[in-house]
Symmetry: C2
Subunit: 604 residues, 2 copies
Amino acid sequence: MIRRLIHIDHQLDESLQSQIRRKLVEGILVGSFMPGSRLPSSRKLAEQIGVARNTVVLVYQTLIDEGYIVSKERSGIYVSDDIHKGWVNADVDTHNIQSKDNFHRFKGQLKTTSETSCPSNWQRFAYPFIDGKYDASLYPVREWRDANNKANTTREIYQWSELQGVEDDPMLLDQIRSKILPRRGIQASSAEILITVGTQQALNLVSQLFVDHSVTAAVEDPGFPEMRELLVKYGAKLVYQPIDDNGMVVNPQLDNCDIVYTTPSHQTPTSITMSMTRRYELLKKAQQQDFLIIEDDFEFESNFLGQPHPALRSLDKDNRVIYISCLSKVLASGVQIGFIVADSGVISELKKLRKMAMRNPPLNNQRAVAYFLSLGYYDAFMMHLHKVFFERWLTLREALNIYLPNCIDTGPIQGGTAYWVTGPAQLDGEYLRVKAAELGILIEPVKRYFASSEHPENCFRMGVTSIPNDKIREGVSKLADLIHLLTADYEEKLDNARGKLLDNRGLAELLPGARLECQMVYGVPCIIELLADGCMRGRTLGVGSEVDVGRWWIENGLYYRQWKLWGYGEIKGFFVIMDGDQMKWFDQNYCFVRQLELKGYLTE
Amino acid sequence: MIRRLIHIDHQLDESLQSQIRRKLVEGILVGSFMPGSRLPSSRKLAEQIGVARNTVVLVYQTLIDEGYIVSKERSGIYVSDDIHKGWVNADVDTHNIQSKDNFHRFKGQLKTTSETSCPSNWQRFAYPFIDGKYDASLYPVREWRDANNKANTTREIYQWSELQGVEDDPMLLDQIRSKILPRRGIQASSAEILITVGTQQALNLVSQLFVDHSVTAAVEDPGFPEMRELLVKYGAKLVYQPIDDNGMVVNPQLDNCDIVYTTPSHQTPTSITMSMTRRYELLKKAQQQDFLIIEDDFEFESNFLGQPHPALRSLDKDNRVIYISCLSKVLASGVQIGFIVADSGVISELKKLRKMAMRNPPLNNQRAVAYFLSLGYYDAFMMHLHKVFFERWLTLREALNIYLPNCIDTGPIQGGTAYWVTGPAQLDGEYLRVKAAELGILIEPVKRYFASSEHPENCFRMGVTSIPNDKIREGVSKLADLIHLLTADYEEKLDNARGKLLDNRGLAELLPGARLECQMVYGVPCIIELLADGCMRGRTLGVGSEVDVGRWWIENGLYYRQWKLWGYGEIKGFFVIMDGDQMKWFDQNYCFVRQLELKGYLTE
């Protein structure tokens, strides 16, 4: 029998000793080896399961030390009689309990919670454009293991175990104070920081302290749905602030608010960064109207174009900003370390609430993360992530620009890990999502971000945290085909377009020396100059300006071009229709691609 | 300068490489080594700090890989220019923020929370009789490290990281279901279990779901103060149930309750175990009155005298018991794993509340604890703890019985890790606590356990989880001296005692063949038989009955005795006063020690 119970798997990472031990203990505890029963000798067991005798001897010795088995002289090895001592007698009547309708007893039941629509098997999809999920290649495995090992030496275990109570690990507080906050321009003492189990606990504690039925709170719309839910749960009246290109709008709606919740780094869900002007405007309004600001500083690391703006908390002169952030979600997805920075009086009240909710966040994790920071792993990891996400972010932007130049507008953003995509007006985003999933493409619907049921039907989000860089182009290309298919009836075609189709001669008259301007899908203009000698120059404007060169020519009534870098360096030909000074390009399937404006001619 | 910044400590556990790395990274991040500045060559640095050159080479190589430093050909090693890329500009105005009175904004502020009175430096006290703190020798360091390592292999990290969301680790649920719950007689599917950050979160979530202003909840008095606070916070009207020798009293006060909170295993704070009769009585009442029971199954492992009783949940036929427990506090003090067992409908509501409060408990810890259980470490550890605490528990009981037989009554308990001690009526427990602490003795005052300010002044608690076995006797002996000193004015003395002092002859007439009965401080009678031949026999009654033998004699007007085991096997002499059939013993300082009843004479 024992042979059947102890099956050794030589493919496992687990050592033989550990496998044998685990299976013996399991057998003893579930009663396969009864108390008092005799086990085979080490020699015999070793033979039966095909391992070295010494391996079994060592396992038996540990189990004897631990009291699972006893060795009786000249008689053999037996399962300890005491093994179930302290267990409830097995004859207790444990027949099935009736399931019971407790519904009428639920007093604090939550109506619904907004679920993300990401399927749990997202990893099986070929093109998961899902923000906030991470492909496994990103986990800082080696570094986390090392930090974790350092936090679990005998001496460290003694230290963090003895912190049992309500205080946070002083080492972690110190690391956050000295390594994380200065990047956001924030100075804080340890008494001004509280560690939380992720951002969600931070938002919950802050809502609990500051919100009741007398409070009016402003939130962004579209905005982070979990925060709306929290504010509603604690009784707040909500005011909805729209988002423009500078971030959350500051207007007289805020005048009667007690609390304003905002995500200035990269607005959730649009990824728009709040401008400096808007930041000062918001702080000024807060002072005038005496409201608090809850700053959710989400993904501040992922500002790709230019320096990140300083946190509101760092600009705040009179301590009215409650700053909430967390360590990178990739690291923290399972470990969950978030934190709050605020006035020490506020922190001490929050600490009492936290104690009542769950004492303090697990101290072994606090210490492991403290080492992750102190060993510099976090910084190295952030540099790495920044590089990876920036690359993916640019790849996605480029792909959208190439494959969907006409029918996508991502808005002017400087970073973040997701694009807020506005498709053609006739697009049904939810239908697109379902159809795209059938092709292995996951995109995120945006409905959950809106407070009311009125939301733009043609918007969706595409994130870069979960999709490898080399899958992005293909995914967007397939998505573009699908969008064209779904909106074909509404698209301008070569045969019904307004204006005049140019032939070889028309093209040769119009194009040499022309200066053209078009819009990138990400909201900046692009200037293209077609030199008479067949060379061409391109330049985008705005933050993160790019330039490229290439060549162009006319052939069979089409305008051809090939950039050095842009458009994947591919040769592409277009039919050209002129409508006043508007130039329209159509591809060889007669589909509309892009509209440009003829801005004049080069003078040199 | 670098020599001052990189100080190597050869005494540390940390490797040289790790120390050098950590200090270099720190120097780079805080700006001691500025971006673009040159670092010494590996040869030079190795010389300066006195380590092998290869050590420095390896550190430099890692830092180059990670982007902290760059190696320029034929020029040297430099701090990367990009190091502060992504940081907020240092010229942001970060002068001190005004501290601000936020008091008027606090809406959900907690009035007071009941603090335990244990000083944070309890480990510096020689005799810490504090329950719920643990001396470091108890931590299962090796086993935790092993389980933790297994949970942090690359494959495991991938697994638990991908569980990100709201679900618990299936491996942990399975281990709790199959290894922990059967001991309590409980059967449950994984859908009937929710993992929590310790017991406190479990109690908080359950209160949140079931309590509002319409609810009446019964609690034990004295009882667990944190639960009273939670119920009050969520608006419950409280009913206070007294405790008797069978546990929480079941009486008509419960008739209008919606919820009853109880700690049947070892009542907090008295350690009394609820009898089986009382359990059935409570369940019957619950059915009649249709109330829910919240069963806080605290320290169920520490039942020392006899088998533990089955949990209420295991006896519950109609699913009205919400069962809450946690893994041993020694393991969980930093790691904090608790759990709730209830109807799956209840669990799914609680999961929504938990998601809103903090998503889910850290998954790396869930997996590490799952391994701790599956490898059998938890069982081995529990067997060990049981042995250690049982030993200490008996030592403390014996010491109280010897040194304070007259003025202590611990009540009839079968286990737990603390004694509820009732001193002489005149004792001021709070004053005793202060004075005892001055002698290095920590005892726990009981005021916080009582709902009203009316509480017995002469009670306190003594726990065994934090004090080594070999300090217990000495601690109790010193405490006894202090109690005698504080209550000397009220004690009976030899010269004012009622009755007649016996001389040698009186003793010789009375004692041979006598059967005496006295009460142990822990609530059971003890029969002592003085045989005519100078031998004696002793036997305690009740659960966990003990026997001993010894010898007795008369000398200089005193009765002398020496047990084989009891009384530490020491010889002790007493003055004896007879008052009717009551016999009173006084020590050689003329202080009253113990009262016995003469029950008759041996017939054989």
